[in-house]
Symmetry: none
Subunit: 207 residues, 4 copies
Amino acid sequence: MLDVETTLPRKEREFLRHRREILMAAEAVFSEKGYISATMEEIAQRAEFAVGTLYKFFDTKASLYAEVILMRMSELEEESNRALEEAVGPGERIRNCFRSRIDQFWKNPGFFRFFYHGPVGAISEANTGFLPEIRERYERYLDRLREVFAEGIRNGEFRPLGEGLMALSFEGLLQVYLERLSGQESPDRRQQEEDELLSIFLNGVSV
Amino acid sequence: MLDVETTLPRKEREFLRHRREILMAAEAVFSEKGYISATMEEIAQRAEFAVGTLYKFFDTKASLYAEVILMRMSELEEESNRALEEAVGPGERIRNCFRSRIDQFWKNPGFFRFFYHGPVGAISEANTGFLPEIRERYERYLDRLREVFAEGIRNGEFRPLGEGLMALSFEGLLQVYLERLSGQESPDRRQQEEDELLSIFLNGVSV
Amino acid sequence: MLDVETTLPRKEREFLRHRREILMAAEAVFSEKGYISATMEEIAQRAEFAVGTLYKFFDTKASLYAEVILMRMSELEEESNRALEEAVGPGERIRNCFRSRIDQFWKNPGFFRFFYHGPVGAISEANTGFLPEIRERYERYLDRLREVFAEGIRNGEFRPLGEGLMALSFEGLLQVYLERLSGQESPDRRQQEEDELLSIFLNGVSV
Amino acid sequence: MLDVETTLPRKEREFLRHRREILMAAEAVFSEKGYISATMEEIAQRAEFAVGTLYKFFDTKASLYAEVILMRMSELEEESNRALEEAVGPGERIRNCFRSRIDQFWKNPGFFRFFYHGPVGAISEANTGFLPEIRERYERYLDRLREVFAEGIRNGEFRPLGEGLMALSFEGLLQVYLERLSGQESPDRRQQEEDELLSIFLNGVSV
DNA sequence: AATGAATGAGCCTTCATTCAT
DNA sequence: AATGAATGAAGGCTCATTCAT
């Protein structure tokens, strides 16, 4: 990252910086208002650019939205993978990943407000245009999780149930928990709750 | 319900019937298109009423939306409560409730498409106008769940962890599982998966 | 026409009247400003309706434009055909048609301002969506002209040249002449000029 | 032209060359897209200059458009005049001019696509800003034509009708014919048609 | 209650033009 | 003269809501 910032010509650095500024502004507005209620006008103001400028960076509102999500999903995938890799043994990996996911939430709680809810009518045809990429990325992450569960099943650490269901359950617990945190007036982190939740899950899947 | 239908004067019976027809049409359109993409025009057509008529029954699109959800949540609450009551012992109650929730999904899969996702930015301020009531109702249902878990903790059937977290986990598993079913092209019910999921959960919370 | 006006239910009569009012307003604005510079806003104002109302009658600005032209082309075709039918003998028919076309111009000079020029970029793909119908209609009219010329060639009244070229020439003279009239500050009709023009043409194609 | 290129200082020569490059690019884009759909952006790309540079040479899009037309009209005028001068006798001059005009079309068919159609509503007030010059130039060419016809009328070669109408007719036939060629998928030149058309015209105006 | 034509505010998007470098 | 990122006004279109019948 630092390399990029320093080696690229000034013009390109500025381009990337502006692009990033717009993405940040968009993320803020999307998470406050939701996809539909957010207006390009407001995003532009927040980013301190004119509306037209947004369109130099992103073709449509929808693609700007997709890019915001993709940007965060890349981070999520990256860090989750790191967490899975770093630990030794399936149980420890899952434990590590769980904590990493919660850490990530605390870095940017606003994002999860619309990550889990997707664009309006995520299922509707209207949006199939840009959702596939996001879903794909998510599935890739789930695949990685499944591998770890499969590994745990093989070595007898986890119960011989479907590794897909395990991954799904893992995500379900996280999703519901993070949603509740997002909804709190002044969210504060509670270590004990996290440990208990993880314990429920691991107890559930372990032999 | 039957009582209502038969004892009320014809005028009022018709009023209720029309109201219900509109709600059903709205549910269908909302679940197909999502909140934003759904138009009052289309709902009116589906209900075989004029647009103006919809406004005799519901003040705004948002309130119609809320009423659709509230209608289904009443059923959900009712049936879930029945399931919790019918069984004996905390574990059995949870098991029964889990199955009931899945039964309910299969009665009306479309509904869950937008129940979990809520309107655009269900959590956002923009929608706080009609969400409170829904959240309240949901909390009431969660409370009932928590009681059961608390009971199980007291009698040593469940582990001595937070009953709130247990309820949350229960919902998380269900939500993620039902979402996946909704997303399937031609959703089909798989008994074994359901049993495994329940087993993971109960294993997780049980001593 | 009268039948239509009197036998249709009031609602439908109003619908047609409003539709016609919008078409007239649109024609006026299109002929003053041209297709692109004309705005739906201004057309709406001129028609004394709200913008939204225009879209109840016409799907897009382009289709409104096409309908304006189609409406006038129907009249043009109808009256030209009448003129061709009424006279006896090819020469007389053409003579009659020529006069009819000029009469039609004087009934509505504004229309021809954009009829001959077509929408911006009439040739561009962007407009191929709605032009075909107009072009078809025009070709049908040209076909009728060609028949008359062919008839004249067969009976030795016209020279044995291509009837297509004759029809084209006929249209060329009219177009250029009407354009010049449109461009005049205060157009006034000059009988002698018309006769001379017709004479040039008939002399050109006659034996 | 060559003189200009060689005698002027390098700076000025470059200026003129760049100006010409922009004009050519503009002509290409205008003829492909039409005035409105053409964008300064695309013209700039085609000319391999930055948008801003275009504005160093031409104040507005409209004036660039006008200059493109003026450039071609100068050639048209020049060559038509040569054609009129070269031949001997009114009839022969017109014949020569007719052929010259068609030659010119084949040198640059694209240009005529928008020459005859003008910008959006060439006749409309919106565009009167830059049209006058074009119209003037065109009138000058028509004047020259009229002189030839007047000459022919005086010497008894042409019929004693208005020379203005004759010039108009001449233009009408050309316009319609060239338009039809422009519209063809793969335009090909047909000598016989041209001869017939010319014959119709000359027959029409000759004694 | 029922109708549905009419309303008009609001939003995404385009693109000619400017200006700091 | 050359650049091209930034501007922002303007326009087509949608749709929740109203109101006269």
